[in-house]
């Protein structure tokens, strides 16, 4: 394969370009142009991969819609092509989803967030995708459109491996739904990285739903950069159910997080380091989520 290690000034080789106006039209184009066609959303991952010679699509289908944030009885619906900067500025995200807001604000730079989309961050399927852990703990679902119609998939079943999702070559992601929170619910997101623009060494999101007395009704914990996909740490979360968040219980759940993850050593950190810090950030994230749940 042609590998461009010298010149990132040009995008090469060229391609057929389409700019469909509806998701249905996008799916038709995908069906027609087959495996050599790719979807271009914000371009902040795709164009870099093309410049680096990692992929050479013959056809590019630019997707600018749907872009919206809507509150409905079954939760918040977000169009897959909604830009991260739009979400970051939206009252709904600021007031309702602090963990998602924290994750988005850590992604790239302001310029990147004016370009990149939520659907793009998910479909790129990086194990380090910052929006994935908060959406996983909030039990988000994604709406997928293909030639034979629509299907809805829980986000926890969406990722298959690095760069791989359940989307077939002729399907697209159209919408993300976040179900409403119950009662006293709090969320938190923590990420460790070398410098602010860097990709995560490890990230964690937590959701806690508490009774008035403070006992845990339900809990979810998700992590990024510790497995081939963003993952839920279900065993660790189960430890918390029905318990008060004493120091001991939190410590036990945090240790369980460290046991449950399967990190690798790469350029951003060692497996040992990731295991070691995972229970520290788990404890911190649980504490922030607990405080936010009490305030709600």
């Amino acid at each position: 394969m042609y590998t461009n290690q010298i010149n990132t000034r040009l995008l090469y080789p060229s391609f057929n370009y389409f700019e469909p106006t509806t998701p249905e039209e996008t799916v038709q184009l995908l069906a027609k142009y087959g495996p050599d066609a790719v979807i271009l959303a914000g371009g902040t991952d795709l164009l870099i991969k093309m410049k680096e010679g990692l992929i050479e699509p013959k056809t590019i289908i630019r997707v600018k819609h749907p872009s919206f944030i809507e509150k409905k009885p079954d939760g918040f619906h977000i169009g897959a092509a909604t830009k991260l900067r739009t979400l970051e500025k939206s009252r709904a995200v600021i007031e309702t989803f602090p963990a998602l807001l924290e994750a988005i604000k850590l992604i790239g730079s302001v310029q990147i967030r004016y370009m990149a989309t939520l659907g793009g961050n998910l479909c790129n399927a990086s194990p380090a995708a910052d929006t994935a852990p908060p959406l996983l703990v909030m039990d988000a679902e994604v709406r997928i459109l293909g030639p034979s119609g629509e299907r809805v998939v829980p986000l926890k079943e969406f990722f298959l491996g690095p760069g791989k999702t359940v989307l077939s070559k002729s399907e697209i992601l159209t919408e993300i739904r976040i179900p409403p929170f119950k009662g006293k619910t709090g969320t938190a997101f923590i990420r460790l990285s070398r410098a602010s623009m860097d990709i995560a060494k490890i990230s964690i999101a937590v959701l806690l739903h508490l009774e008035d007395g403070g006992k845990v009704v339900s809990a979810r914990i998700a992590l990024g950069s510790v497995a081939p996909t963003p993952i839920l740490a279900n065993k660790a979360a189960e430890i918390l159910i029905g318990k008060s968040l004493t120091k001991e219980t939190v410590a036990r759940a945090a240790e369980a997080v460290a046991d449950e993850i399967r990190p690798i050593t790469d350029i951003r950190g060692t497996a040992e380091y990731r295991k070691e810090v995972s229970h520290v950030i788990a404890r911190d994230a649980l504490e922030v989520a607990r405080r936010r749940a009490k305030e709600n």
Binding site: Y17, L47, I60, R85, G108, S196, M197
Partner: protein
């Protein structure tokens, strides 16, 4: 590949051009329109030097297709001064000696224009956060910060 006809305004001037599908907005601005104020540095979205405003939003022209400008409004570093009279951000950068080699400056100034429009009185942390995607390898960040503080204060002097 077939060229694509696009029409947009750049620095207030209406232009009609034909672009290649794989032509980047940066290539179009520099090579077709000869506006060489916009700089190419990393090409992979790390440095911010190629920042321009597209529909009043700061974006990286090295990771944006030229066709994206169709029906849009592009502003580059050449478009913010009134002839030879510098705009207040440019003047503040000159006054504070914020420029060393100069290569990152067009990107920094376009980001500052955008920052001050969104938030006319930013705190120092807000400035640092907004500009964290703009790298200066002369590492002249302190004078850049002073210049932005001065521009935010209406060019009346910072300290």
């Amino acid at each position: 590949m077939t060229k694509i006809a696009i029409s947009f305004t750049i620095n207030g001037v209406r232009r009609k051009l034909e672009v290649e599908p794989n032509e980047l907005l940066m290539n179009c601005i520099r090579d077709q329109l000869h506006l060489t104020g916009t700089k190419y540095v990393c090409g992979i979205g790390e440095c911010g030097a190629c920042t321009v405003l597209l529909n009043q939003e700061p974006i990286l022209s090295c990771l944006t297709l030229a066709v994206d400008a169709d029906h849009g409004e592009v502003v580059t570093i050449e478009g913010i001064s009134a002839g030879k009279e510098l705009d207040k951000v440019q003047q503040a950068f000159v006054d504070e000696g914020a420029v060393q080699c100069g290569y990152c400056i067009p990107g920094l100034i376009m980001m500052t224009e955008s920052l001050l429009k969104e938030n006319p009185t930013p705190t120092e942390n807000e400035v640092r956060d907004y500009l964290r995607g703009n790298l200066c390898r002369c590492t002249g960040y302190m004078n850049v910060l002073k210049a932005i503080t001065k521009a935010a204060a209406g060019g009346k002097g910072s300290a």
